[in-house]
């Protein structure tokens, strides 16, 4: 069968990104032909400024070289712009006469710099700043001449001016508006920026209009301003804005406004023709930054692949100036206005200015100067529309990295030396990450994870990796709004959408869910299958069948795999209380099976390490103790102190309550591991403040705290409610955990879940509304009723093939 033909007009970042996304989804659907006006294959346009400044080379900013196109079987025409589109014959004709028929056409023609129509604009030495050719011309000019004038004090103009200054030229920036980067910065931040750029040797003339460029022998020699002032200039760079390239589309009769008009599926008014990037107008807006282009590329590719899922609904974009040593960031509506409030920090001496604009307790805009460490975090809050009422008092001071472990307490990526380790799990240094971002053209945390392994294990350095992305590629880095993050690459759907469908449509097996939800892969992947297995079991307890093949090995074998392929065994000791008989049996088992490691765990129990897999069922049988679920996303331990039975300070019997809680909740699976603690007095010896649910006995009852964490990121638990009796503790704990089980994303600990939904939501469902609390608790009891001990089942022979090797 002949394949459909896809022609792409424009070989920039938007068009090529769309092709990459398309090839991931449907590698064999189209014969693809690409026309590019430049003689270069696809390069990272946003890194032209570092090239101009001499910090990077052209080779380093190539994203897809010509070999890539050959490998994908794409026909590539370079230095050959398309001259016209023949919509009735469905073909395009290029400048050299080459014609190519299409079934689908993708317009990614980008934009062109605006040239001011002033006298002298045609002179030699007058350039725009858009592509490799412009950059090379500027570098060449900087070697021969000494005076440059940049017209336009926006993002691009300042990067050009800085680059030329780095190359030794005397540079003057002429700007029509009263302050620099007026579309991205407020006056205060712009003035601080101006001062620091002036310190680097740039000269500024603000609020001034250029009247003409004078020349000698056809070459520019000076810029004349309104009022008569004349500035010597052998090189004039115009950076006054960009204009979408719509001429080709308009000539073909496509509806255009400022850009080529597209709908939410990136389709133009001709249904066979799509458009992405700077050349399109979507809902009346055009975009000149790279992050929105990537969002468009994803949606457009999906429709080209005939999957038909996803809409582009516009982007909130952010700006970051790529001038080494100057940190500026802005996003959203930072000018404020009616119904907005501003939080301001201004320290001109220290070179720091931060402005946060709030509306209805949500962040709607921000300007950061000097300290942009938290830009990624603010941008995420902004895009997600997170309610910040509860963190308002410390919002200005950034995301608390308190207790983040594994990178020597460093929270500022910019100040770290290249040799310093960012990811303590995988031993990845800052230099390695920055190199990978530049050389492999990485744009997202996931990309960096795949290529370098940084933040791929425990994830505690994710914030640092985000900072490195932001400081290396500037505004091109846009953290994906968490609310829209798909489960994995097998689907476009979010965790919430998947869970809702499983509930609403009574999907009670993984294959059923995958079929109903149009999974792209026949049997998912190692990320989505465990999540789906948990979701169907949680939604349909005692009805859905567990799928052992969709569980990670630890949960499949009911023991923890170790680095040498052996396993560890942790029997349950309710509330951390044991007996001589249990200890004797443990000792005998250790001897009998020659178990090399015995260790007391942090959760008040005993870990037997180095058990051979085939010995597991017999070890469990000889131990004659319940499974401790130390291997599972499930209730682990309930840590206790000795409490009022022994302790001279104890006011409550914490041990008894801990045992009751553990007996009630053992065998409870959850989105992630769950740890509890009960202390008998406010001295809190059981460390209830860093547990998923922590209970502290006081004279008049029990205080319950939730969402604590003592691992990767130390997080103090938040107070939920105080109750009088142990029965009430059980009910509130059960209800909270059931809410977490029903609503959290798979692999989110309680702390992450609470951060997402907010404590108010938890209080409403678990504390304020007694009916809701009781229903939640009943649902948990229903789920746990009749749950059996997995070790007992396996001692009796269940899943025996798991433990028996085949011998020949």
């Amino acid at each position: 069968m002949q394949r459909a033909k896809l022609v792409v007009v424009g070989n920039g970042m938007a068009g090529t990104r769309t092709l990459e996304e398309l090839l991931k989804l449907a590698p064999d659907l189209y014969d693809i032909t690409v026309f590019g006006a430049e003689r270069h294959a696809n390069y990272n346009r946003i890194l032209l400024s570092p090239v101009l400044a001499g910090e990077m080379t052209l080779r380093e900013i190539m994203l897809n070289d010509e070999q890539w196109y050959r490998d994908q079987g794409i026909t590539l025409h370079l230095a050959n712009p398309v001259a016209r589109i023949d919509r009735s014959r469905r073909c395009v004709v290029a400048a050299d006469g080459t014609s190519a028929p299409y079934d689908r056409l993708l317009l990614a023609t980008g934009s062109a710099p605006v040239m001011l129509p002033i006298p002298g604009c045609e002179l030699q030495g007058v350039l725009s700043y858009r592509d490799i050719a412009d950059t090379e011309a500027m570098i060449e000019a900087s070697g021969r001449h000494s005076h440059a004038v940049v017209i336009g004090g926006g993002l691009l103009g300042l990067e050009a001016a800085n680059g030329l200054r780095q190359r030794g030229m005397e540079v003057t920036v002429v700007h029509l508006m009263p302050w620099l980067m007026e579309r991205q910065l407020d006056r205060s931040a712009a003035q601080m920026l101006e001062r620091s750029l002036a310190d680097k040797g740039l000269r500024f003339l603000l609020g001034r209009q250029t009247e003409r460029i004078t020349g000698k022998d056809g070459h520019a020699c000076a810029v004349v301003l309104k009022g008569g002032e004349e500035i010597p200039a052998d090189l004039v760079v115009m950076a006054v804005g960009i204009r979408p390239n719509v001429d080709l589309a308009r000539a073909a009769g496509l509806h255009c406004e400022r850009g080529i008009v597209v709908n939410d599926t990136l389709q133009t008014h001709d249904p066979r023709i799509y458009g992405v990037g700077e050349c399109v107008a979507h809902r009346g807006l055009t975009y000149g930054l790279v992050a929105p282009l990537f969002d468009m590329a994803k949606v457009c590719a999906n429709h080209l692949a005939r999957l038909g899922i996803g809409r582009y609904q516009g982007s909130i974009s952010s700006t970051k100036l790529k001038v080494t040593g100057v940190d500026v960031f802005s996003a959203g509506d930072f000018t404020g206005g009616e119904n907005t409030e501003e939080i301001l920090l201004q320290d001109p001496g220290g070179g720091v200015y931060k402005k946060l604009v709030l509306r209805d307790e949500r962040l709607v805009g921000t300007v950061l100067y000097g300290d942009t460490v938290d830009s990624a975090w603010y941008f995420q809050l902004l895009r997600d529309g997170t309610n910040v009422a509860q963190i308002r008092d410390h919002l200005m001071f950034g995301e608390s990295h308190l207790g983040n472990t594994g990178h020597q307490g460093q929270n500022r990526a910019v100040t770290m030396p290249d040799t310093m380790e960012v990811c303590g799990c995988n031993g990845v240094t800052k230099g390695t990450i920055v190199k990978a971002i530049k050389e492999s053209g990485l744009f997202s945390v996931d990309d960096v994870r795949k290529h370098t392994k940084a933040s791929a294990s425990c994830g505690s350095c994710t914030g640092l990796v985000e900072q490195l992305l932001a400081s290396t590629i500037g505004g091109a880095y846009a953290p994906q709004a968490a609310a829209q993050k798909p489960v994995c690459t097998c689907t476009e759907l979010t965790h919430e959408e998947v869970r809702r469908a499983i509930r609403d449509h009574h999907l009670h097996s993984i294959p059923q869910a995958m079929a109903f939800l149009d999974w792209h892969t026949p049997d998912g992947c190692a990320s989505c299958r465990p999540a789906l297995n948990y979701y169907v079991l949680c939604a349909w307890p005692r009805e859905a069948q567990d799928d052992p093949q969709s569980r990670y090995i630890n949960e499949r074998a009911h023991a923890n795999i170790q680095k040498n392929g052996t396993f560890s065994v942790v029997p349950r000791m309710f509330g951390g209380v044991t007996s001589a008989a249990e200890l004797r049996r443990i000792a005998d088992v250790v001897d009998k099976y020659a178990i090399p490691g015995v260790k007391v765990t942090g959760g008040q129990r005993i870990d037997l390490l180095g058990v051979r897999k085939e010995d597991l069922p017999r070890v469990w049988a000889d131990l004659d103790m319940p499974s401790g679920h130390a291997y599972a996303k499930a209730l682990r331990t309930v840590k206790t102190c000795v409490g009022s039975e022994w302790c001279r300070f104890g006011v409550q019997d914490s041990t008894a309550l801990g045992i009751d809680l553990e007996r009630a909740l053992a065998r409870m699976y959850a989105p992630h591991k769950v740890k509890l603690a009960v202390s008998g007095c406010p001295r809190n010896c059981a460390e209830s403040g860093i547990k998923d649910v922590g209970v502290i006995g006081v004279d008049s009852g029990w205080e319950i705290y939730v969402g604590g964490n003592g691992g990767i990121k130390t997080e103090a638990a938040q107070f939920l409610v105080k109750v009088r009796t142990a029965d009430e503790v059980l009910e509130v704990t059960g209800a909270f955990l059931q809410l977490y089980r029903e609503e959290a994303r798979y692999l989110d600990r309680t702390v992450a879940y609470i951060q997402r939904v907010g404590m108010d939501h938890i209080r409403m469902k678990v504390v304020d509304d007694a009916t809701s609390r009781l229903e939640l608790y009943q649902r948990l009891l229903f789920c746990l009723e009749g749950a059996t001990d997995p070790w007992q089942e396996r001692i009796a022979g269940a899943q025996s093939h798991e433990y028996e090797a085949i011998t020949l």
């Binding site: 795949k450 290529h451 791929a456 294990s457 892969t521 026949p522 049997d523 998912g524 992947c525 190692a526 299958r529 465990p530 052992p548 093949q549 969709s550 569980r551 990670y552 090995i553 074998a557 795999i561 680095k563 392929g565 093939h801 090797a805 085949i806 011998t807 020949l808």
Partner: protein, 118 residues
């Protein structure tokens, strides 16, 4: 599969297909190292040395999906048909010929006294 020419390779019966769980694996003990025999969602079977090219993790214990397995130790993805790690990771695990005949799984193995497989 790259043992020396002098090695004798014999087809040996391993187990019934039904002994292999779909999207699962079994370990075959062998004098020269454990071999992981995998089964896809249907009746397709594969065999690799039970050792991840990264840090030697037992691939037989990983989650099987499509024609791949995810190593249980650090999550490398290894192709079942060729033993090659999915990019950007780099590495390869030796594979073995395996076939299905009348519901029985056969593995082509080096006869005793040959050099170690890898």
């Amino acid at each position: 599969m790259s043992a020396t020419d002098s090695t004798l390779w014999n087809w040996q019966r391993v187990c019934d297909l039904k002994d292999l769980p779909p999207l699962g694996a079994r370990v075959v003990s062998h004098a020269q190292g454990d071999i992981a025999v995998f089964r896809g969602a249907g009746e397709e079977v594969f065999a690799l040395l039970d050792r991840c090219p990264h840090k030697g993790g037992p691939l037989s214990q990983g989650i099987v999906f499509g024609r791949h397995v995810s190593c249980p130790l650090h999550g490398w993805t290894i192709g079942l048909a060729d033993g090659v790690a999915v990019a950007p990771d780099q590495g390869c695990t030796p594979g073995f010929e395996v076939r299905l005949d009348g519901g029985q799984v056969y593995l082509r193995l080096p006869a005793l006294a040959a050099e170690p497989v890898a």
